[in-house]
Amino acid sequence: MNWVAWQMLTGDRAKYWGTIFGIAFGTLLISQQTALFVGLMRRTASQIEGVREATIWVMDPEVQNTDEIRPLSDTDVYRVRGVEGVSWAVRHYKGLARARVADGRFRQVMLMGLDETTMIGAPVEMLLGSLADLARPDGIIVDRSGFEYLWPGLEPQLGLELEMNDRRAVVVGVCRAGAPFQTFPLVFTRYARALEYAPPERNRLSFVLARAAAGRDTAAVCQEISTRTGLLALSRDEFFWRTIQYYLRSTGIPVNFGITIALGFIVGTAIAGQTFYLFTLENLRQFGALKAMGLSNLRLVMMILLQAGVVGSVGFGLGMGVTAGFFEATKNVPHLTGFYLPWQVALGTAGAVALIVVLASLVSVRRVLVLEPAIVFRGA
């Protein structure tokens, strides 16, 4: 009878595609908005993800996220190095600076000052130039999206100049790096030079990046650093989630995205459920006839679930295809850097769609289950 179920489903093309559209629409909204939300949240912590070598971030205890920093004293790096269990510890600067390009335009940039000798926190993927060129006078490395912001329309190239805090900077490299939450160009340079570009302050050390010695538990070392120095030491994961949770708590982003995702779920369920239910209603006499002819409730339910499964699968495939197409088409758009379709989102959306399909078919299943086969002996 699966073949009969399939024929019944596809026999009415309008309803078949109507149900699929409902599910595809729900899938698109849920997956695309969830992926954007996840991407946006990752962007808030992308600078933490970008520093792969360090497993411990040390900061002022009041720091809630990577963008609001209370600077440390320059000597704090030595205090951290003195804690037992710390393999190494280096300075790291992160702050905002105003950059002016040759034609007089301004742009706020996110300045990253790297440890002079180890270059901990440097970008991993260089598109032009090399990391070693940071040793050249006034050398900076700009991320690919930032280059587009600073010099719109220009192909990435080296040798371009800009000015920060009345000091000259020369592009010696272009890299690919995780985009920040806001659309600021990322500018990497050496720690000492970053301090020259940054606005003057008494303390300017943003973070101490460290790593636990081999065989030492990172969490225990973090605890030891906090105890000994009075600073806040977090593992990379802890700081990653602390930053994301700050944005979840302090902005309307999750609510807005949540509403859109919920709407996707509700609209998808409503469209699919209503169309599917109408389809069942219109075939109720036929279902009754099948029951009268000896088709058991179990097989009828299996027929309906098969129909629901088919429209669910096709709808999910179409919706997910559009979502994937969106991220594929926009992967090189600078202000959408960092947005992609994680497999976890695809899997979660599949679960949501499965729920939509179950909800949409439940009413139909119930209607068919309580259907008296004797209905077929009544006139129209």
Binding site: D12, A289, E372, G379
Partner: protein, 273 residues
């Protein structure tokens, strides 16, 4: 000619094997003060090898009785025996299986699946019985040929006339060779010519020595096709009229018993009022 069984008690005994026997069947709907008794201890027997008509005015209980006989409704009291098997001895699952194997249905509204071709519609009872699709379709085409629709194998119901749809429904009802064929107002939605064609078809194809055919109708145009007419009123069988098969007119080939089409006299509704 038609005689009344109540006047000839031996007629039943003389008939072929009893296919359906209703023993004091009662059916009530509703609860408490709203309880409504639709069937009042109905006793009736339907022999195999005949086309039996169940006639009566609207609301007299015909549909309820046929639903109980076909196993679609449970009687409140009494029992129905189908080919020697008391319904009360069957579980719900066994009853469904019994229905699938032994009962064919022809409905007033045809109830063909609009998305399926004529062949696929006819094959449904076999598919329900888990016969493979290729075999089921081959058998369905045989039946369609028998009902004169050889050129409509791949036609959808919407492309068929009412009479043709009812012929497809008859083929569907017979494809699994049921022992009991239940027809609910098979001509009600058809014009006179189509109705006559359908009844002739039923007489020619459906009536077999080992099969009983029950037709519920209030269409007096088809009374002449029945071997037996069971007359219902107010939830009771009022009379059973048996055709005298020894009569020379009994097997008239072109519209069986045409000259007896009005067994109740000049006004067929006179006894149904």
């Amino acid at each position: 000619m038609i005689t009344t069984l109540s006047e000839q008690p031996d007629a039943v005994a003389n008939a072929a094997g009893i296919a359906v026997r209703c023993d004091r069947v009662v059916k009530e709907f509703g609860e408490g003060e709203n309880r409504l008794r639709v069937l009042h201890e109905v006793d009736v027997e339907v022999p195999a090898g005949e086309l039996s008509l169940l006639v009566g005015p609207s609301g007299c209980g015909k549909t309820t009785l046929i639903s109980i006989i076909a196993g679609l409704l449970d009687p409140t009291a009494g029992d129905v025996t189908l080919f020697g098997t008391p319904r009360s001895t069957l579980s719900e699952r066994e009853l469904i299986a019994y229905r699938a194997a032994n009962i064919g249905f022809v409905f007033q509204q045809y109830n063909l699946l609009p998305a399926l071709t004529a062949t696929a519609n006819v094959a449904i009872p076999l598919l329900i019985g888990r016969v493979d699709r290729k075999t089921a379709f081959a058998r369905a085409r045989e039946l369609l040929a028998q009902v004169g629709l050889s050129d409509k194998f791949n036609t959808f119901p919407a492309q068929l006339s009412g009479g043709q749809q009812q012929r497809v429904a008859i083929a569907r009802a017979l494809v699994h060779e049921p022992r009991l064929l239940v027809c609910d107002e098979p001509t009600a939605a058809l014009d006179a010519q189509s109705g006559q064609t359908v009844l002739e078809l039923l007489c020619r194809v459906a009536v077999q020595p080992d099969r009983a055919v029950i037709v519920v109708t209030h269409d007096n145009r088809i009374f002449g096709y029945g071997d037996r007419i069971m007359e219902m009123a107010d939830g009771r069988i009022q009379a059973v009229h048996q055709r005298d098969t020894t009569s020379p007119s009994g097997d008239a080939p072109d519209g069986p018993h045409a000259q007896d089409a009005d067994p109740f006299g000049a006004d067929p509704h006179s006894v149904l009022a």
